[in-house]
């Protein structure tokens, strides 16, 4: 046997294989490489570890991270993961497969992507969804590019300054290098109504970075009148109860599937989603799965509309995307299957009740003002602390809580998911009440 578990070759195997190739050493396989490029000596890396040593290495590191009770959101939400999900998604037939190029032996992957597309359409109310994107912010950036592609020769996209910071920074990056004129503004209606822009699209949040459910009444008509497309950035968990992008009249919906039971895991892997009206179907980036039949008439799923994609269209493709986040799309698909429509409604009701309870309790401490009184929110909200925001966050950290995320306006945000128990909420309030801030 070989000395390393992942390399199955014996010395005899290597000898026989080299003979077949007509060479006498492994080194000769690199005879076409200029000798000065062959790395000499050992790499400066650790010596091979046993499985148990690897496990211990990570356990030691994980112990250096502080375990905190999360009262923060801002694009990453601490929802519960039903145990069915990791059980299903760790099946090696799913996890060790590649992009389903050979559909006859990939019906499992193709079928769950078809289900994902269906569920994303159900949540957003739109007609067509793709097989997934890297994350919510990159999905927003692709939507920005899609607005420009759909409206031809128009090059300005207006984005609400109330989008999440993570979304805005990725939009700014993509626009800077691809030459799209991105206008970030507090008042989208006003910027669009001026009518001076070569408007390709508008991107607004369904729920903004202060947690407020926004009204987009009349916005779609205005944007369409000016010749642009309306994009809504959504929390898919909340879409079970808040007005859908389709109901607001949006053309494209994007967002991050993380809130559908994907663990926080320091920011990834998550999964972006994108849906649009049928009219723009052929401008979508990424993979799309379609239903057809084989010669015997059996239902079959395939990758379709591939004439949009990079491996066929090269520089004329709708996007450069190749791999997406398929396994995380499966994650969300299993989640939504377990939860069902009633489960999603109940989940949102619990988040609503507990977050409103926390907000009342915090205001009752007398240490906050409410800058958004009367505005509707679901699980995340912003308050103006009447003390030093940094000290506030530190006091919480010291007590084992992560919350009170500062915003540039001097507010702090809190998020309460169904995982936060009434006891944890009361404990957090107690810390703030008693802290000398």
């Amino acid at each position: 046997m070989s000395t390393f578990a992942y390399f199955p070759h014996t010395e005899e195997d290597i000898k026989v294989m080299l003979e077949r190739v007509g060479l006498s050493s492994l080194g000769e396989l690199y005879s076409d490489v200029p000798p000065e490029f062959i790395h000499k000596g050992d790499y400066d890396l650790p010596s091979a570890m046993t499985e148990e040593e690897v496990r211990r290495w990570f356990e030691n590191l994980a112990a250096k991270d502080t375990r905190l009770v999360v009262f923060a959101g801002a694009g990453a939400y601490d929802h519960y993961t039903p145990s069915v999900i990791p059980y299903i998604t760790s099946r090696s037939e799913f996890i060790t497969a590649y992009t389903p190029y050979q559909c006859e032996i990939s019906q499992g992957t193709l079928r769950y992507i078809f289900e994902w597309q269906t569920m994303i359409c159900s949540l957003t109310g739109l007609d067509v969804a793709n097989a997934s994107m890297y994350d919510g912010p990159t999905a927003a950036a692709e939507a920005m590019r899609m607005c420009v592609a759909c409206t031809r020769k128009r090059n300005t996209v207006v984005a609400s300054a109330r989008l999440l910071p993570a979304v805005l920074s990725v939009l700014e990056t993509y626009s800077r290098y691809s030459g799209i004129n991105l206008v970030v503004t507090d008042d989208v209606q006003e910027a669009v109504a001026e009518g001076t822009l070569d408007l390709a699209g508008v991107i607004v949040p369904s729920i903004n970075r202060f947690g407020i459910v926004e009204s987009h009444l009349g916005l779609a008509d205005l944007v369409h009148q000016m010749g642009g497309l309306l994009v809504e950035y959504c929390d898919p968990s909340a879409l079970a109860v808040v007005k859908t992008p389709a109901e607001w009249g949006a053309d494209i919906a994007v967002g991050d599937g993380q809130s559908l039971g994907i663990p926080l895991c320091y920011g990834g892997p998550y999964v972006g989603f994108m849906a649009c009206r049928e009219q723009w179907m052929r401008k979508l980036p990424g993979r799309i799965v379609g239903q057809t039949a084989d010669a015997a008439g059996r239902r079959a799923f395939v990758l379709t509309l591939q004439a949009r994609e990079q491996h066929i269209r090269r520089e004329k493709a709708t996007s450069n995307i190749c791999s997406n986040e398929s396994l995380m799309a499966l994650w969300c698909t299993v989640y939504l299957s377990i939860m069902g429509p009633e489960g999603m409604r109940k989940l949102n009701a619990i988040c609503y009740e507990r977050s409103h309870y926390l907000k009342e309790q915090l205001l009752a401490t007398g240490k906050f003002e409410d800058p958004f009184e009367g505005r509707t929110f679901l699980k995340e909200f912003a308050l103006k602390p009447l003390c030093n925001a940094e000290k506030l966050q530190q006091a919480l950290l010291d007590a084992g809580f992560f919350g009170a995320l500062p915003t540039p306006e001097g507010y702090v945000t809190f998020c309460v998911t169904e995982r936060r128990t009434p006891e944890e909420i009361d404990a957090l309030v107690k810390v703030i009440k008693e802290a000398a801030l």
Binding site: F4, A48, Q107, T138, G267, A295, E342
Partner: protein, 438 residues
């Protein structure tokens, strides 16, 4: 709660959903059965040999999967003092990848290979812009390049200039020379290229491109044969990405999540973190798995990874070259390309690929690269035993015999899979892209 027709607002003004939500209403046992059954219609690396060219379908170690849940509870915006363990993983990976590639610093934001390309091209643009060099609007891409290369350059706002390959499959240096000038931002190359050939003129190419003020981008999709042997940084590359889901053994997950960290040479280090191309810190869960792989393989075994992958490819190539057309007969690296059957009649590469499925093998990459009409691009990896390679070779010979004796059997393949060849034209002409609830 959440009622769209409450007393104060009508449906139009309401903030709540009025459309019914169509989601499955099923029990937990039925969910488990449904997805278990779906998984059984799938083929993965754990099922069998997966010689998909340019995809590096190596074994995905199981210990790597067990590491991730320990870090599940960490919020991406937690302050630095509460995530010292996480930071140590990033620091280790930055140093380890720099050592393995000869680059100086890495950014871990990109979530896939193509995402890495885009991030790398943004760095290329940023570098020129910061020097006031605004005229560099073109990127050179070889005609053999992965489709993502020109697509990524286009997304980054560059014009694409194609450099031709010579009949021996390598970039034509004479064709390259007249393309170079003050409008060239850089060249994108993968080395070995998509024919599995080492670009032996890389030193001259690097010197020519640098000479005109351009930068060299290395597409790390084909890094596996160089693992432990050759470092892109030493060959003169300024920017590169790695596919952790190829070279560093993390699972492909049916098409993601991947991770495409981008490394840069010294002069680009100050700007490496400038392009914010994903929401938080990249796919940390994937980076963890790659980290576990590096610790397990260690410096001793790393040196063998590239050579054993390269040996496997050459072994298959030499064993099958009488039955399949081998347009370029020289020593290959991790992969090589056949141009269909040597004596196939009307049996196409698609037919061969579909017949392979009947015999329990995944098909190679087909009809890529575009340089050959019947391309079959085969990439075994270092984790495949000689017995597996021999079984594949036997079946490929058998299929070649079937092609001459019973071509119809191949035209109608596969026969032993959950479905037969589907009507892809109908799928694209009248797209059905979701379930209908009507």
């Amino acid at each position: 709660m959440f009622d769209s027709c409450d007393s104060t607002k009508d449906v139009q003004q309401s903030l709540w959903r009025s459309t019914p939500l169509n989601l499955p209403e099923v029990s937990e046992p039925d969910v488990v059965r449904h997805y278990t059954n779906l998984s059984q219609m799938n083929f993965g690396v754990d099922t069998g040999f997966y010689p998909l060219g340019s995809c590096t379908m190596k074994y995905n170690p199981k210990i790597n999967e067990e590491i991730v849940p320990q870090f599940n509870g960490i919020h991406p915006l937690q302050p630095a003092q509460t995530v010292q363990g996480v930071q140590a993983v990033y620091d280790f990976m930055d140093k380890a990848l720099a050592e393995i590639t000869g680059m100086k610093r890495f950014t871990f934001l990109p979530c896939a290979g193509a995402h890495g390309e885009l991030t790398g091209l943004m760095l290329m643009k940023e570098y020129h812009l910061r020097r006031g060099d605004t005229a560099r609007t073109k990127v050179i891409v070889p005609d053999s390049a992965h489709g993502t290369n020109p697509a990524s350059a286009a997304v980054c706002g560059f014009d694409i200039v194609v450099v031709k390959s010579r009949p021996d499959g390598l970039v034509d240096v004479e064709d390259l020379k007249p393309l170079l000038g003050p409008d060239i931002a850089g060249i994108m190359m993968t080395n070995p290229n998509t024919l599995g050939l080492f670009e032996r003129d890389i030193k001259e190419i690097a010197s020519l491109v640098h000479g005109c003020g351009g930068l060299l981008y290395y597409d790390g999709a084909n890094m596996n044969p160089l693992l432990g042997v050759v470092r892109p940084g030493d060959m003169g590359f300024d920017i590169m990405h790695l596919n952790l889901h190829k070279t560093f053994s993390t699972p492909h997950g049916g098409g993601g999540p991947g991770s495409g960290p981008v490394g840069v040479a010294e002069r680009l280090v100050p700007i490496v973190d400038v392009p914010k191309t994903s929401g938080f810190h990249g796919n940390f869960g994937v980076i963890l798995r790659a980290c576990a792989y590096i610790l397990t393989i260690g410096r001793e075994n790393l040196k063998m990874a590239g050579p054993l992958a390269t040996l496997a490819a050459n072994y298959i190539k030499e064993s099958l070259k009488d039955s399949y057309k081998l347009p370029i007969p020289t020593v290959c690296k991790h992969e090589f390309v056949f141009d269909g059957l040597a004596d196939g009649g009307d049996v196409t590469t698609l037919d061969v690929a579909k017949r392979l499925l009947d015999y329990g093998f995944h098909a190679p990459t087909i009809y890529f690269p575009l340089l050959f009409h019947q391309a079959l691009m085969i990439e075994p990896t270092e984790t495949e035993s000689k017995e597996t390679l021999d079984a594949f070779i036997d079946v490929m010979h058998l299929i070649a015999r079937e092609a001459s004796e019973n071509p119809e059997l191949l035209h109608t393949a596969p026969h032993n899979t959950p479905i037969g060849r589907p009507d892809e034209t109908a799928a694209a002409r009248q797209p059905i892209l979701k379930y209908s609830f009507d």
